[in-house]
């Protein structure tokens, strides 16, 4: 069961806050329940899938588009650009919601709400739900915080590893050249000694010839 709790004000009582709860299963299009309270009384009602289809037809709106508008009106997140207005006639129990455009507003839908005999139960349940939501969010946040700390620590470790690697590479390169030069110079020394032998070998041969 999905639920959204929002603060609204009614056109007929602009200075008073009401709390609107919308309950639905998976998709708003399959119907939803509404609960309205002012902290003293409470009213509830239902909008069925048939009601939704009919409202969309009456407004000559595509059903998908209508449901999208409903979602924005009743289940909105903070910062929505659109304005929706609500009103409630306590005497008749008629609750309606409209979309407000520049100079005009058009009726989005309505529902008949019945007054609840034990509003305190509705209110207690609502507050309890809010406390549960808070606790759930705090728990999520704690987990994310821990996760972030772990990721930061991992990043720092691997950063150090990379730095070590960069400096180790430079050391490696220098070391390899060093060793190469030592081995190379051994060969050069050998070449020099062989060359010397050859040169000395030629000179004595010349002398021998002269002697002969």
């Amino acid at each position: 069961m999905e639920r959204k709790v929002s603060r609204i004000s009614l056109v007929s009582e602009p200075s008073k806050i009401y709390f609107l709860q919308v309950f639905w299963e998976k998709e708003l299009s399959t119907g939803f329940a509404i609960s309205l309270t002012d902290g003293l009384s409470a009213w509830t009602g239902k909008v069925s899938e048939v009601d939704i289809s009919r409202e969309a037809e009456d407004m000559a709106m595509e059903k998908e588009k209508y449901i999208d508008e409903l979602r924005r009106a009743l289940v909105w997140e903070e910062g929505s650009a659109d304005t929706y207005i609500f009103d409630f006639r306590k005497e008749s129990g008629h609750f309606f919601y409209e979309k407000s455009l520049k100079d005009v507003s058009f009726r989005l839908g309505s529902v008949e709400l019945q007054e609840v005999s034990s509003p305190d139960e509705v209110i207690r349940e609502l507050i309890g739900h809010c406390l549960d939501c808070i606790a759930e969010q705090q728990s999520k946040n704690k987990h994310l915080q821990k996760e972030n700390e772990r990721l930061l620590s991992d990043w720092n470790k691997i950063q150090k590893q990379l730095e070590k690697y960069v400096s180790a590479r430079e050391v490696l390169e220098a070391d390899l050249y060093n060793r190469f030069v030592l081995v190379l110079n051994e060969k050069k020394a050998k070449i020099r000694s062989l060359q010397k032998l050859i040169n000395e070998g030629q000179a004595p041969e010349k002398d021998t010839q002269n002697e002969r």
């Binding site: 070391d175 060793r179 190469f180 030592l182 081995v183 051994e186 060969k187």
Partner: protein
């Protein structure tokens, strides 16, 4: 024996690398890893 010493001195440098036989990258790597007290 001195004779053996002389033979090896003729054939190999002080690090053990042959003066005459070609070397390969793997052999050179092994040679380098065996070199101690490299300045």
């Amino acid at each position: 024996t001195p004779a053996t010493q002389r033979h090896f001195a003729r054939e190999y440098d002080r690090f053990g690398d042959s003066y005459f036989a070609d070397t390969s990258p793997d052999q050179l790597k092994e040679l380098f890893s065996g070199m101690k007290d490299v300045p």
